[in-house]
Amino acid sequence: MPVANIQVSETLLVLYALRRADDALILGHRLSEWCGHAPMLEEDMALSNIALDLIGQARELYTYAAKAEGKDNDEDKLAYLRDVRQYRNLLLVEQPNGDFAQTLVRQFFYSAFADLYWRAMMTSRDTTLAAIAAKSEKESAYHLRHASEWIIRLGDGTDESHARAQAAIDHLWAFTGEMFAVDEGERALIHAGIAIDPATLRGRWLTTLSDVVGEAALVLPQNDWMQQGGRAGRHSEHLGHLLSELQSMQRTFPGQTW
């Protein structure tokens, strides 16, 4: 028996929380794919730890989205019973792990943003979002430091690691613009003091990137054409495959618990 997708009444606030929850869950799931496969034990633990932080953040955000919606949904239903087009995460976070450099560059781009974003969101007028932000910003600071150190180690390492890190930067760059874009609904939340305008973070984000990438002897691409669509539910082919694994248990055994 196939399990039907849930319907979500996406008010502005529900959609806003869902988008951030989806970012955290999908990136956390991607990182968890390294568990048992990382190049060394310490890194296996690090990536799993970061995955755990992100999935924890996702749980808080899904719980809040469900509460804001006020229907029958909860964190599990939101994670396990929505299909690809209902997911609203950034295209960046669903990109495959690729090699180790690609995983770390993806993490670096996201963490450099998340660190600024959560710190800014601590001033949100929405007390739950502000509280989630206060927890998340502490975690993102560690994630950023971890990724930054790896970018430098890879870029300033061997010819091989340098080439792979540069290739990852060039490949993932077009997915970074979406982090700073807002639609009309989010614009309204920004005016209400519930959300912050991510465009105001881009200058500092670029400074962090330039500092680290410069020290790593790598370069940032000059092209500014950006791929978008994730926030509106238009995803790359990779997300469907990811969800089929993430959701397989609940789709096969509906309502199953540990």
Partner: protein, 167 residues
């Protein structure tokens, strides 16, 4: 009136002590009182509600801790106690008691330092070895066996050790 107040404050004290004595399943020398995880105990008649704050967003120990609190309160005579999670203000290692820090060190885990050291992107940290007391130590990995710990090594006694990260 005085006796009623006394009775309530005694009951609350008893509930607080029962909850505060629950140990962290990952670091069994620390109680949630030591950790600063226990935030509030509210008494309504004989019914008790406890507020705790999560350490890390994804820390799996939190579910276990909530369950242990319920068991401890039941044992102390409070029926069907409730455990509520509060997110704000966010937990910080600055709330860890001196007693907690001492116990951690004795257990072989370097206690957390002041939380402002977290922000330094590549800042030098000096973590003292809990085994021999040397400051000649190095970071092996930012992430350790649990969310709250990093892995360090002492260059003086050569022992690897866990460091409870500041948060």
């Amino acid at each position: 009136m005085v006796t009623v107040l006394d009775r309530d404050s005694q009951l609350r004290r008893r509930a607080w002590d029962a909850a505060a004595g629950v140990v962290d399943p990952e670091i069994p020398v620390l109680t949630i009182g030591d950790l600063g995880v226990l935030r509030d105990v509210v008494l309504d008649g004989d019914h008790v509600e406890v507020a705790i704050t999560p350490t890390y967003s994804g820390c799996p120990a939190m579910n276990m801790i909530a369950l242990e609190i319920e068991v401890a309160l039941e044992r102390a005579g409070f029926h069907r106690p409730k455990v509520r999670t509060v997110l704000s203000p966010a937990w910080t290692t600055d709330w860890m008691s001196e007693e907690g820090r001492r116990k951690l060190r004795a257990y072989g885990i370097a206690p957390p330092q002041a939380s402002n050291s977290r922000r330094a992107l590549f800042g030098e940290q000096a973590v003292t070895c809990p085994q021999c007391g040397s400051e000649n130590t190095e970071l092996l990995s930012e992430f350790g066996s649990t969310s709250c710990k990093a892995l360090w090594r002492c260059k003086a006694c050569r022992e690897p050790f866990d460091y409870f990260k500041c948060h």
